[in-house]
């Protein structure tokens, strides 16, 4: 990563650039900023210097924002791509969604812009691993399970299916859930509060928008069948859905609000986002990590830190952060193997996800998992929750009917 933090702004309106340049002048000591009125001049500047963040307008004469950011994605995959746009035309959404990490709607106030830029730099600082830094920002989507994606495609053609039905399918898939939450929480659609439930997200977007998105190249993608089999991805997905349900139950016993329970559910489902990235982008390394974990009886995340300098938990947290999901979800994913971090501020959604994940690993294991750690009882003692544990464990013990299904 370059030592000076560099941002490049592209907008065809000179007055907008002037306004930004003046506004951000006070950051001159910390940030180096370039301003360009068209895509080609920005691209040639990027060829000469490394930029950490590109902020582009959407509609521009000659080269539009989507085209520009797509070129940047391939030529400079490690740059963070933001779109600052006053445009609200629906046909552009899908394409824009697949090339930008986040959208900022024009007009945005200076504080919002500064927060977004600082946050983007902070995420970049967390991606210590050079190897990951080259791959993570270039990811357009998180691969979905082929079967789930196919089901969504079938459903959107079926006039009897509602957006709620489609949302339910999406909500059981890590890749599609993460993407739809990125989309619905972007400034394009701009709900004032973060939505953390794919079903609500689907209802909010409506079936027409979902259809347009699902058919836009790059919004959703699928894993090749060989990988699904090699890493037993369906087992991983089931694990995530169980962790989501258990995290929600745990939050319920702790009298958290309905909205927090909903967020906990999603945080649980997305906690292993990083594993999906490893499966899709670092499969060779992952196979070796799992092998070592079993042989040496050490948890995967320890070995990940040694081999790729970043654990799957941190990796997932970084992507979800890059995509602008809510803080609770990001924290839960990032710290689900660091119990001390999960109880820093007392009981939280991250605590619930840590516990749910640890309990699930205790009771259920799927084929391609590595060696798992025991639950850290000290954190339950700190929170005075030790007595609750058996009750939570019971949630996972399958009923007779379910046992039949598993067999």
């Amino acid at each position: 990563m370059s030592e000076v933090k560099r941002i490049i702004f592209v907008d065809d309106d000179e007055e907008v650039l002037d306004g930004l340049r003046r506004l951000l002048h006070k950051m001159n000591g910390e940030w180096e900023m370039d301003f360009h009125q068209n895509g080609s001049s920005a691209l040639s500047a990027m060829d000469k210097k490394t930029f950490d963040i590109i902020v582009s307008d959407l509609r521009m004469a000659d080269m539009g924002g989507v085209e520009l950011l797509e070129i940047v994605r391939t030529r400079h995959p490690d740059a963070t791509r933001l779109m600052l746009s006053g445009c609200s035309e629906q046909p552009m959404y899908g394409k824009a969604v697949s090339c930008a990490h986040q959208f900022i709607a024009k007009p945005c106030d200076s504080e919002q812009l500064m927060t977004q830029l600082s946050r983007s730099f902070a995420i970049r600082d967390r991606i210590r691993s050079q190897k990951v830094a080259k791959v993570l920002p270039s990811l357009r989507s998180l691969p979905a399970m082929p079967a789930a994606y196919k089901k969504v495609l079938d459903m959107i053609e079926d006039p009897r299916c509602t957006s709620r039905d489609v949302g339910q399918v999406i909500s059981r898939d890590i890749g599609m859930s993460a993407k739809i939450l990125q989309i619905v929480n972007s400034a394009f659609y701009g709900p004032s509060t973060k939505i953390s439930d794919p079903v609500r997200a689907s209802v909010y977007l409506g079936i027409k928008a979902i259809k347009a998105l699902a058919l836009t190249d790059g919004v959703f993608s699928t894993l090749p069948e060989e990988k699904v089999e090699e890493f037993c991805v369906s087992g991983l997905q089931e694990h995530c859905v169980r962790v989501g349900a258990l995290a929600r139950s745990i939050c319920k016993t702790q009298k958290m609000t309905d909205q927090q329970q909903e967020t906990a559910m999603m945080a649980g489902i997305l906690h292993d986002t990083g594993k999906m990235i490893l499966i899709s982008e670092f499969d060779y390394e992952l196979a070796e990590i799992i092998r070592l974990s079993r042989v040496e009886k050490r948890p995967c995340h320890e070995i990940e830190r040694e081999t790729i300098d970043l654990t799957h938990a941190e990796l997932g947290g970084c992507l979800l952060n890059l995509w602008g999901l809510g803080n609770d979800i990001i924290e839960a994913a990032t710290f689900h193997h660091e119990p001390a971090e999960c109880i820093k501020d007392g009981f939280s959604i991250a605590t619930a996800v840590y516990l749910a994940n640890a309990i699930d690993h205790q009771f259920c294991s799927y084929l391609s998992t590595g060696w798992s750690e025991e639950i850290d009882m000290s954190i339950l003692e700190t929170l005075e929750l030790t007595e609750q544990l058996p009750e939570w464990q019971r949630v996972l013990i399958p009923t007779e009917a379910e046992e039949h299904e598993y067999a």
Partner: protein
């Protein structure tokens, strides 16, 4: 009697359809209008924030100067005091602020004008259902049309206007004439846009007004792809469209023709060459329709 009722009903139904189409047209423009307002608001906001910060910095620098001045009158100034004032000046970045403040103010004022002109153009389009004949300034109607369509046009073409200042108020139904201009200019922009998409250069839309005999005459010409002779006969038919599904309703030109010839007793002329462009000329009697009145 019965035939009359039926005619009334069908006229009413046709008007209803025209109204719907008009609203649909305006609805499609709202995204572009929002964009045209959002952009100036963005830089006006940024400039104001900069001016506010800069003002604060300059005020505190002024305080330092004032302190320095009182100290200087009381006793000889020490090196320390001098250094302190100098540091304050460097921190404030006076040069940058002094250079940027006038531009920030000028651009913001310009931005406010952009927003105001858009809002006043929107106001011109909001009386879309009055449907009565009254004297109207049609040059202004053209200018409003261009403002409203700025976002549809600016990525593909430049607009050149040549409006006759002596054009008198024209007796017409302004909402219908506004709709005529809107449809013709949208078509011009789309025709150039199609060329542009196929890799063509940026185009030009020329709009002019003049007086010719008893008529007010308006020409709207584009450097777009032109209309082929085979379809020239059909373009005024209702529901005829060359635009892709979901893009055009095939009613734009049919409404234009009806409004000009039937409602205003005017004339509509078309000149077009493939690959060169199209010119529509609209003749409206200045005194209003004389026939059937």
């Amino acid at each position: 009697m019965e035939t009359e009722t039926l005619t009334d009903q069908s006229t009413e139904a046709r008007r209803e359809l025209e109204r719907t189409q008009m609203l649909q047209n305006l609805g499609k423009l709202t995204a572009g209008i929002a964009h045209e307002i959002n952009t100036p608001i963005q830089f006006i906001g940024d400039n104001l924030q900069f001016l506010s910060n800069g003002f604060e910095d300059i005020l505190s620098l002024l305080c330092e100067y004032e302190k320095f001045r009182t100290e200087a009158t009381e006793a000889a100034v020490s090196n320390d005091q001098h250094e302190r004032v100098l540091a304050a000046k460097v921190k404030t970045d006076v040069d940058f602020i002094a250079k940027e403040i006038p531009k920030a103010i000028a651009q913001s004022i310009d931005g406010i004008k952009r927003v105001s002109s858009m809002i006043s153009a929107m106001r011109d389009f909001s009386h879309i259902d009055e449907r009565r004949f009254a004297p109207a300034n049609l040059n202004k109607a053209i200018e409003s049309t261009i403002v409203i369509l700025r976002n549809e046009i600016k990525y593909v073409a430049d607009v050149e206007t040549n409006l006759d200042d002596n054009l008198p108020a024209v007796m017409c139904c302004i909402d219908e004439i506004q709709q005529v201009f809107l449809n013709l200019v949208i078509n011009a922009a789309h025709s150039i846009g199609d060329c542009h998409e196929e890799g063509g250069d940026r185009g030009l839309i020329k709009i002019s007004s003049r007086i010719e005999g008893d008529d007010a005459v308006f020409t709207i010409s584009d450097s777009g792809k032109g209309i082929s002779p085979e379809i020239r006969e059909k373009i005024f038919e209702q529901f005829f469209t060359t635009k892709g599904p979901g893009k055009g309703t095939g009613q734009g030109l049919s409404i234009v023709q009806k409004a000009v010839t039937e409602r205003h007793n005017g004339r509509l002329e078309l000149e077009s060459a493939e690959g060169v462009g199209t010119t529509f000329t609209v003749y409206i009697p200045i005194e209003g329709k004389t026939k059937n009145e």
